[in-house]
Amino acid sequence: MTAPIYLITLLPLIGFLINGLLGRFLTERQSGMVASGTVLGSFLISAQLTMGLMTRPGKNPHFVQTLFTWIEAGDLQIQAGYWFDALAAVMALVVTGVGLLIHIYSIGYMRGDPGVRRYFAFMNLFIFMMLNLVLADNLALLFLGWEGVGLCSYLLIGFWFQDESKARAGMKAFIVNRVGDAGFIIAMVLLYHQFGTLNIQQLANAAPFALAGRAFFTAVTLLLFLGATGKSAQIPLHIWLPDAMAGPTPVSALIHAATMVTAGVYLIARNSVLFTLAPATMNTIATIGILTAFLAASMAITQKDIKKVLAYSTISQLGYMFTAVGVGAFSAGIFHLMTHAFFKGLLFLGAGSVIHGLGGEQNIDNMGGLKKHMPSTHLTMLVGVLAITGVPGLSGFFSKDEILWGAFVRYEGFSWIWLVGVITAGMTAFYMFRLLFRTFYGQPRWSNQLHPHESPSVMTLPLILLAFLSILGGYVGVPEVLGGMNHFHHLLEPVVAISPWGLAGGHEASHFMELLAMFISTVAALGGIYYAYKVYILQPRMADELRDKLPGLYKLSFNKYYVDEFYGAAVVRPLVAFSQVLWTWFDDRVIDGLVNGSAALIGSGSRLIRQLQSGLIQHYAAFILGGVIVIMAIIYAS
């Protein structure tokens, strides 16, 4: 007997309502306990359902539950329903599991903040919306979750809204996401028009036999991908994510690293059948993904804000995931999504611990030598850095290599996409170790008044758990070439489409090539680590020398290729100027002119007509006479 699926989403909703409505009756501690407890409940139910899924017979085991008819208008009927299969199980476990750890961490991190109840209410609302997103059995409900997490993201980025720049960062995230959401909505309308349903399973069943041509699927999938680029911060809509770091650090860990930003990858994996019908879209996704991975990594190298480095790293890793789904390796993309949730969640929480210990300092130029002051944070972050770098044996190694191997198979050899992926892996190693070295090693560069301290155990415990997950998380998907069973791949196999390019764990390609590709990417990562060690530990002055030697490249990277400036000049300023014209000319002159003009017309007209009312009886008599003459004339004329 398994629990009903709706309990998974219901619990965080209850937590949201308790914290949102009754928060003022709760102590700070109770508020955190309620929020964490409901997420724990969701996690346990998800785990129980996943267990039930394992023992369920059939080719594609799943639980399905239709709750109620949500929208009914004419022929349009949309049921609110949940669909729990292997993909949903992975996502639900990641969301609730990592979410739970981050909720617990938040109890320590947000202690003493006057808005802590509001914080936990939004966090629970976020978990509720995110679970709707991953459990929905139709695109409309998925879109509800999609918009809901966007709302929570906005609310939590601007959590400290008294600071105008933070409130603005929230608005930027919301507005940039709108661009992508427009694509999502149009895609839904097109799909409904064509198939008469928004149910994901029905769409997947009907799509291969649809009368619509390849152009239709290319258009629909490109529009869905546009939605995904917005939510998952891919080029060209990546600009909001670095600014989103204005929110509290656990929010960055939960929403802007582990869960929400991966929704785009999930969307594509969930609708993999549609995407495999549009090879042009798949190539676009792979290209955008790898370009994002590379460019974001190159931006991360020069950033000074510890959270910004991690933000660009997140964009870069999301680029990897998109490359994976773009080359048809859907399970590899979801695998990396999961391991990334572990190690990037860990890295963000570790960064939060550092910021906490240094009293709010975020600039890595003002850190250094924290190793002996914060031993737990240092050790767990080291694990996270090693995992994201792809050092053999840790989770990131398995998932990243499966992606690169997918690209290798898809393009039949050493393609440029594979090559850029390997170079990016080296750059990832470099900037992550730069972060680590600048923070924990070398001479202390913080001011004397600060006394860095290790964070309380309520914060370090989630770090330790996530560190274990970052190490062990990869072992569910050890590739067969390394003697593993690749359970993860086989788990997701029935859910995602089999790509037409014959990627099924690399059976077709030779094992030698797979090992060679793995070796090359590992060498790239180790090279990146060594180079970072050389630049930041062995010869600490080398970093400045490099910067002076390559001022153009440094400026380009430090200023993020001036993309924000470009959007500012191309979109924002023309829009503001246009609005200015509308305000000063159209509104002030035309609209106000119409309103004031009609009033003035009536005023002056009345002034004229008022002259008729002289009060003199003789005038009135004259008018009567005139009227009589006119009437007589009319009668006579007829």
Partner: protein, 101 residues
Amino acid sequence: MVVPLHHIIAIASLLFSIGVLGVLFRRNAIIVFMSIEIMLNAVNLAFVAFSNYHGNVHGQVFVFFTMTLAAAEVAVGLAIIISLFRNLQTSDITEIHNLKN
């Protein structure tokens, strides 16, 4: 000698016009009032003329009604004028414009 109808109508019209002009342009309330009486009597003259022309008494019956009405009107009208004079110490109707404002 029978006076032709159109002569009488012409005189009635003339009288009526004089009455109208008097109402429109004279300032003294009493004169205006008298002008109204002239207009009424012009109409009476026309009625009698048509009555004679048609050879029946319908028009003359109307004249009696008109005269009764005129008597009532004089009673009310003069009362109004006296009351106005008492209040405003004038019978110049251009000075009486209380209807305005």
